[in-house]
């Protein structure tokens, strides 16, 4: 069950030029949270902006009842969110979405994140590590400063590699280039990925060629977050006349099987 509640803001700190780390006290919902789910956040009071903003659950500290979000300041909503202060309350709906499907986990797992899309992967990686999976993580970013989760990942028993567009850390180029290398060098049984649409789209053929099962977390503009408004749909392959069906990112996703997702031109 999902709820609309106010969570106390325990921290809201800038971690690099564009990104913030927001810690919320949400003991009421903590036990329901799964990696890959998101919160639908009212960034400020009033009607400007009018709509909530979907933000993935980055980390989930069950003992303390705390949920961590990682967000990039992008437009009006996230700008406003960045001004919210410790001690204030944040109006959220959540947890929302299906999260990653962990029912048929393989052993050798690759996790790929691009840009702020790396946010939801941390909670997943922590879970995979707990389950003693063999995890390799590829994180891509514009530059070294924007590489997310570096400290956390260095502390975890995972194989962690990075790619930056400007070459300031790790592989020089897109994380999809690093992925290509990685798929040549090693055998993986399962991939989880999140990032900008062009990245996910580029990954699709690379991975399907190798016949590896992959789950993608997609981003779509959302209205309700509850499955009511049909704003957030993604194209999914089905056997009908058109060859596709629209599924809701908010309730049917945001995680979909890569093999069924259709990216438009």
């Amino acid at each position: 069950m999902s709820r609309q509640i106010n969570g106390d803001i325990l921290a809201n700190e800038r971690i690099n030029e564009s990104d913030y780390r927001l810690v919320l006290s949400l003991p009421e919902i903590i036990d329901e949270v799964k990696p890959g789910q998101f919160l639908h956040v009212k960034c400020g009071p009033g009607v400007d902006p009018l709509l909530r903003r979907p933000l993935s659950i980055h980390q989930c500290n069950r003992d303390k009842g705390e949920i961590v979000l990682l967000y990039r300041v992008f437009g009006r909503g996230t700008e406003l969110l960045a001004t919210r202060e410790v001690g204030e309350e944040l109006d959220i709906m959540g947890p929302l979405g299906n999260g990653f499907d962990l029912t048929e986990l393989k052993e050798k797992i690759l996790v790929v994140g691009g840009g702020i899309g790396s946010a939801p992967l941390m909670a997943l990686i922590e879970r995979l590590v707990k389950l003693n999976k063999e995890v390799t993580v590829l994180i891509g970013a514009q530059n070294k400063e924007q590489l997310l989760c570096q400290d956390e990942l260095t502390d975890l028993p995972v194989d962690f590699k990075t790619a930056t567009n400007d070459g300031s850390a790790g592989y020089e180029g897109y994380v999809t280039g690093l992925l290509e290398q990685e798929l040549e060098a090693n055998e993986y049984e399962q991939i989880f990925a999140c990032g900008p649409t062009p990245m996910l789209k580029a990954m699709q053929p690379l991975v399907s060629k190798k016949n590896i099962e992959m789950q993608l977390s997609l981003e779509e503009r959302m209205g309700c977050g509850t499955g009511a408004c049909l704003s957030c749909v993604c194209k999914v392959k089905v056997e009908n006349e058109e060859g596709f069906e629209y599924r809701k990112a908010c309730t049917d996703g945001p995680v979909f099987k890569a093999s069924e997702v259709i990216f438009d031109e």
């Binding site: 609309q4 009018l50 709509l51 909530r52 009511a228 704003s231 058109e242 069906e245 438009d264």
Partner: protein, 305 residues
Amino acid sequence: MSKPDLAVDLNGLELNNPVVTASGTFGFGEEYEDYVDLDRLGGVMVKGTTLKPKQGNPTPRIAETPAGMLNAIGLQNPGVEYFIDEILPKIRDYEFQTIVNMSANTVEEYQELAEKLSQPEGIAALEVNISCPNVKKGGLAFGTEPKMAAGVVKAVTENTDLPVITKLSPNVTDITEIAQAVEEAGSDIISLINTLVGMKIDIDTQEPILANTIGGLSGPAIRPVAVKMVYQVAQAVDLPLIGMGGIMNSRDAVEFLLAGASAVSVGTANFSNPGVTMEIIDGIEEYLSEYGCDSVEEIVGKAIK
């Protein structure tokens, strides 16, 4: 003092209270189960339903605007048969009145929809969305021309015993003309307003944001337009009105009641505050108590000079 009576009777459509949810913004009700005591709602106007299932428009389907949003969902829905067979049985047992919003491209389709929706148990009223383009007349919306509007409404009223609500488009020169035409055509209730047509351009890509280019503007931005149209139509016809357009809280809801609506419908506000309908019901009750009113009726149209 006893509590004010919130029940309203709209020409045969009886609601426990004057608060319903607007079509396309509240799914089939169930979607809000986690946030709302659905049994407390006056009614739910379900997603626009067509004869055949519809995939709807490509994405992006929504864009945010100052105090509003644009949508171009394109009537994605599973079709009337799926609705009757699969969805209605699941929502029938809630206390709310189920109002089915119907969309079609020809008068014949409206008629067929009315017939189909009049069979099953559990539908309280039909809402005729006449903002859809008339395919035969080259895409001009039914709701923009009195005769066409009347034709659609007749096709529905003559083929159902359910109360018929006609939902008016605000994108017209004179909404009272359309209202009078649908009154004469036998509509029992009028709901208004549907969205204003609008668009938004991304100056970075130099392209319209919506895949569909244009979309429908809803939310508080349009409230002044909606209130004015309710105020006007209330004076032009003798039918009960369901007012909507940018209602965000109980104060806004009361504004529509004072303007002449007998009930209100809440749309976009559900997105920013999923529990808003409960707050609105409570707020209307408080307002009535404060003003010493025993029933909702006492304030309906009170601002009309």
